[in-house]
Amino acid sequence: MTTAAIEVAGLTKRFGETRAIDGIDLRVEEGEAFGFLGPNGAGKTTTIRAILGLLKPTSGRTSVHGHDSWSKPVEVHRLVGTLPGNFRYDDTLTGRQLLLHVARLRGASADDIAHGEQLADRLHADLTRPLGDLSRGNHQKIGLVQAMFHRPKVLLLDEPTSGLDPLMQDLFIDLVHEARDGGATVFLSSHNLTEVERTCRRVAIIRGGKVVTTDEVSELADRALRHVRVAFDDDVPRGELEQLPGATDLAIRGKQATFRIAGELDALTALLSRHHVHDLVVEHASLDELFRSFYENESEPAAVSATPGGEARTDA
């Protein structure tokens, strides 16, 4: 097996009695754009900080291109460009001074600095003003520049688009695509599903410190809730629909039924085959709805992991 760009194996991190993350396993291949989704407090930032070697794992390990994050942080940091969730630095420095400072710390080349200035130009980031004078969005742009200017092999981005306007978010997505096309691995922590959907091939969803699912973004979409509208020739078979596994939010108007359904559709097609169907519309729910479906039952993360969408079944 080749060395993963990022590997997280059985990672658990406790803070006193609080278990922030609990036995996380992740493997991100070189050149992959990987999304890491979860609400605030789910453990995204803790995981990223462990990958960066800023937190010592209570158990398990993390590595970047085979370098253990905790015991070999310098090697890890040489490969990684990162944007912390709450990017801040010396407020008196201008963006250009910060860029030069980080470049000197990294031993970056003049070409890298020129690349940073180009990035800043594309992001409309003002390198002449002190960081303390910048809005949150402009501050974030400078953070992105310092993360990406040295063309890192691995980009670890924690909520990178927070504070950016929609146009800049689009540009950020272009930058991620360019980095990935250039061979970089991108690990993107976010609670913005659209952002992940547009940038990443695979995604892990974390809840309560545990990864509840890891899959291709497209596969997740296939497993997502679907909106179903069925027009029957005869009366709606209410009882059968109410018993349909994974169906929720059943509403009946005349001979038409609308509901949401998660998971496999075999039971639905079998049901429909027993009736005369006048019209049928099945639409994928948005990834946002899928995301929410993983959080509807906060107290049962394991059940979600075992049977994606299973919590919807209990509601039918």
């Binding site: 800023l54 310098v74 912390p84 801040r88 010396d90 710390l105 990294r106």
Partner: protein, 261 residues
């Protein structure tokens, strides 16, 4: 590491200049005030006071008859109490403060060993202290020239050099605390508290001879009075060793701990 030292030094440059000017101005005012004193009258007056009490506050009955004695009693005996806070604040803000406001993340994710951060802070503190004391020497010497008091440049420079080990010792203590404690207020409070307690203990020991054995516990005992008696080799060595030990301890403490968001 030079880049890190340069940055940390630059970050505190404005503060360094303000500290230097404030101390230089105070010193210059003290030097000027000495010209208004009738040494003979003051000496006869102070002879009526218990010498132990005078000594506790850095004076002797003879203090007011010489410029260096006057400067020692009126300024330099408690100068470490003020100047010590410069490296203390630098250390508490440099690690604990930077962690609290999130700015430490940028540094600790660069490809530099973690130990370079406390080490660079220590070096930047030394540079800052030297700069403050250069301003102090220049300001004091300017006042000496303008007022014509009898205070040699050598004594002023000696007094400045004598302030470095004691200030560094408390700065290094703060550095060690900052490497472990995450709240900058706690770092400043504990290190500053030890500094003040050390001064008070030294004062009490001088008043109460029965407690003389405790004097070795106070940094101010080892500081002595450089402007009057010159640099004490033992005292300077004790303070520098303490500073080195605290600074060295900060490295494993900082290396081994989590950096929180």
């Amino acid at each position: 590491m030079p880049e890190l030292v340069r940055h940390l030094h630059r970050r505190r440059l404005r503060s360094t200049i303000i500290w230097g000017l404030s101390i230089a101005l105070t010193s210059a005012l003290m030097a000027a005030a000495f010209t208004a004193i009738d040494p003979a009258a003051m000496e006869s007056l102070t002879k009526t006071v218990d010498p132990k009490l005078l000594e506790a506050f850095g004076s002797t009955p003879e203090s007011f008859s010489s410029a260096d004695g006057f400067m020692a009693g009126k300024l330099l005996s408690y100068m470490p109490l003020i100047l010590g806070f410069f490296p203390i604040l630098m250390a508490s803000r440099g690690i604990a403060g930077a962690e609290a406001d999130g700015s430490l993340d940028v540094l600790v994710t660069q490809p530099i060993p973690r130990w370079q951060i406390p080490a660079s802070l220590f070096i930047a503190s030394v540079i800052g202290l030297v700069e403050i004391l250069v301003i102090y020497v220049v300001g004091t010497e300017l006042a000496v020239v303008l007022t014509g008091i009898d205070l040699s440049l050598g004594k002023v420079v000696t007094s400045a050099i004598g302030l470095i080990p004691i200030s560094l010792a408390f700065g290094a203590l703060a550095l060690m605390l900052s490497a472990r404690v995450r709240k900058p207020g706690e770092v400043t409070g504990i290190a500053g508290g030890v500094l003040v307690a050390s001064y008070l203990l030294n004062t009490i020991v001088l008043i109460l001879p029965d407690l003389d054995d405790l004097k070795i516990l106070t940094a101010f005992h080892w500081y002595g009075s450089p402007i009057e008696r010159g640099l004490d080799g033992t005292g300077t060595a004790v303070l520098l060793v303490a500073a080195a030990l605290f600074a060295a301890a900060s490295i494993p403490l900082f290396n081994r701990r989590d950096i929180l968001a």
